[in-house]
Symmetry: C2
Subunit: 481 residues, 2 copies
Amino acid sequence: EEVAKLLALKAQIGTEPVAQKFTLKTPKGTRDYDPKQMAIRETVFDTVVRCFKRHGASTIDTPVFELKETLTNKYGEDSKLIYDLKDQGGEMLSLRYDLTVPFARYMAMNNIQTIKRYHIAKVYRRDNPAMTRGRYREFYQCDFDIAGHYDPMIPDAECLRIVSEILSELKLGDFVIKVNDRRILDGIFAVCGCPDDKFRQACSAVDKLDKLPWSDVKAEMLEKGLTEESCDKIGSYVQMAGGLQLVEKLLSNEELNQNKLALAGLTDMKVLLQYLDLFQVTNRVQFDLSLARGLDYYTGPIFEAILLGNQDANKERVKGETVGVGSIAGGGRYDGLVGSFHPKGKSVPCVGVSIGVERIFSIIEANIKKEKGKTRTNDTQVFVASPQKGFVEEKMKIINELWNANIKAEMSYKKNPKMLNQMQHCEESGIPLAVIVASGELDAGTVKIRSVGSREERTVDRSKMVDELKGNQNNIPMFSC
Amino acid sequence: EEVAKLLALKAQIGTEPVAQKFTLKTPKGTRDYDPKQMAIRETVFDTVVRCFKRHGASTIDTPVFELKETLTNKYGEDSKLIYDLKDQGGEMLSLRYDLTVPFARYMAMNNIQTIKRYHIAKVYRRDNPAMTRGRYREFYQCDFDIAGHYDPMIPDAECLRIVSEILSELKLGDFVIKVNDRRILDGIFAVCGCPDDKFRQACSAVDKLDKLPWSDVKAEMLEKGLTEESCDKIGSYVQMAGGLQLVEKLLSNEELNQNKLALAGLTDMKVLLQYLDLFQVTNRVQFDLSLARGLDYYTGPIFEAILLGNQDANKERVKGETVGVGSIAGGGRYDGLVGSFHPKGKSVPCVGVSIGVERIFSIIEANIKKEKGKTRTNDTQVFVASPQKGFVEEKMKIINELWNANIKAEMSYKKNPKMLNQMQHCEESGIPLAVIVASGELDAGTVKIRSVGSREERTVDRSKMVDELKGNQNNIPMFSC
């Protein structure tokens, strides 16, 4: 027994890290993406970008850092989360905090009046990372925006259609897209006796309704100085949700339709829901008066997509992000932001949506893990192998033919690898086919084509090899779950 | 004349910028990529990535910043070009300077023994930007590396084949890939009487032979303390270039083949050239004894691809970059770098290549400009239009059908756009087809399909519209030149 204890102790010591010359880690709140994570990331980006392109979007890119002053006074309290660069002589720089401010800076700087662009890039926030919940200090944002002076709700409807297309294609389960309008909310606040200067505070309280009961939200509003009567009246409005019928009902509400903001918001909401019907997404969309969205700069319709399947994850929702842990996409209309950058204050109305790709990566990773699915990290279709020694040059001739024919192919980097190791590599990497050559095939001018899964082999003429393989190239999905 | 002067003056004043609330610019040495530049960038990346995948590579990603200590003592004098982040409490961070050090850190941290990976990402250097020559402080690197204990020259040959495939596919004109081996150079320095501790300095002098005459290089070596005799002897070696015959000749040179380093290098070079013959790239490859490469960490074969067509650009070559202004790709074997990171010093031999994508972007942009080519910034295939007012909802129904059928389609965001404007938009954006609907078509249950280029129209049944359009979707190239 004593010996067993000592052995256990020794084993423990053996796994202790030895003294390192330096810390081998990534900075706090960041991570490397390994090949499996990259395969998922690329599949998601591919789906998202195909959708953006289906809608005629172009793309832009901006530097990872901006002049510090470009980001100043844009994020309120959250400005403290901005990463600054060290003053090494020259300009004061900060890492971008989101993609919207650089987009507005780009538009104003180049005096652009109309653009439909997407931008997928990493942004940086010195937040407390919650990496187990997929929240990092370096993370992707994936934004699509339509800018220009257009007729009401046509671009807005397309943004919602895009959210619906992407979430459907990614097969993440059932989802709902909640829509509301800042003008409707402001109108409600006004008719309920909330003073103008308390609109944003009331809005921020209402925004918590998806994770707090009404009584808590009411308490917050009372604390912020609203009257009991105002709160109760606001409560009776913001707890409503529905569709076109609800819009009609509110439009005929004489209190609301006397308020210019509410009337404008409701009129546009009616048009939006009609357009969404033509775009066949009505069944996904809910007009929800409790939706408020965190950002200050929204001026019209706002929306947020929420996955319904995963109730636990929804409970986890933490506020303060464009896309929270529970929501999967969000956006809205912001008609004033570009003007705030433009030297002459020239405004360009914008509407946009941000897809919560980091959360999507996490969900897909979790699904693959749960279903014990496999992730391929490369696309290789054919492995060139030989059971005999001395065939490295022959294999090189064959693989050269395959590459010339644009067939994705690999071979061992060892001169005389064991056949078993070669086949194991194929199985582990999910390579579906092997071309096998040995002295028999060489003499006969043939090769064997082997299906790695079924282990079936057939012999084909060397001159027909490429055609045979091209006919056999199925599209193997990068992951299964 | 006085009036003309005043008018000229007035015109000048008119173009003066007005007072701005803040500076509307990107940081020094950086730029935005507009949609046209992005179209080129994506086409280049697509070609490069397809090639990497054809060779079975997976991809990884690392954070944009690393712990400052990870980058310390890696770049010699150039360390002063590293961007540090401000100390905001917590870890000391720096922006990555290249992709090789983060790759080695990733390998050591995860104890990875074999990987074939590519990594395309931006790196940061506080260098003096020469933006007109395509040199920026934020720029892309595009690295492919094969790591693992393998047999000599098999992965090395594949790296060279990859360079050849990519440069051929990108149609940048004729190119040559120069190859040499650090061990051959060191062997030459040794047999020429250069002291061991001056190898790296001699190497750095030789590296300038592509832009300086031999006399200047000799002067530098003399300055560094080499004797006249050593210099002349080195000169007679490093001005040689050729193929397999030259390798054979040097292998039979009794002075050189007595030197272990030179012998090992030449033996491998012979194998490499034989493999390259099987990979059909011999005509692109030249064994050039003057090739030295800037980086200290190379331990074996080194290579550099140079475009031949553009002699002016080659003259501009400035040293000090992995990929200089004149070279278009480069790389080599570095067997010691990963071990220098590993806590137990465990080594993983690596060979890799870096594709000079920024230079490739510049060349393609210049070609398009020269040939007055057009660049499309989106893929849209079909524009849904109407010459009549009041058709926004009908157009929405049509475009909804097209999106459902995965056809890339756009329509105006204005309710009643002018037909002329709609057609002009198609012409400007390169959209090849328009679906046109008006009351006549609506009544007849048809649409018109118009070829934007030829202005030909034909009427088809609404029920056949999608099939007709799918048959007509040619792959329009993103740019022509």
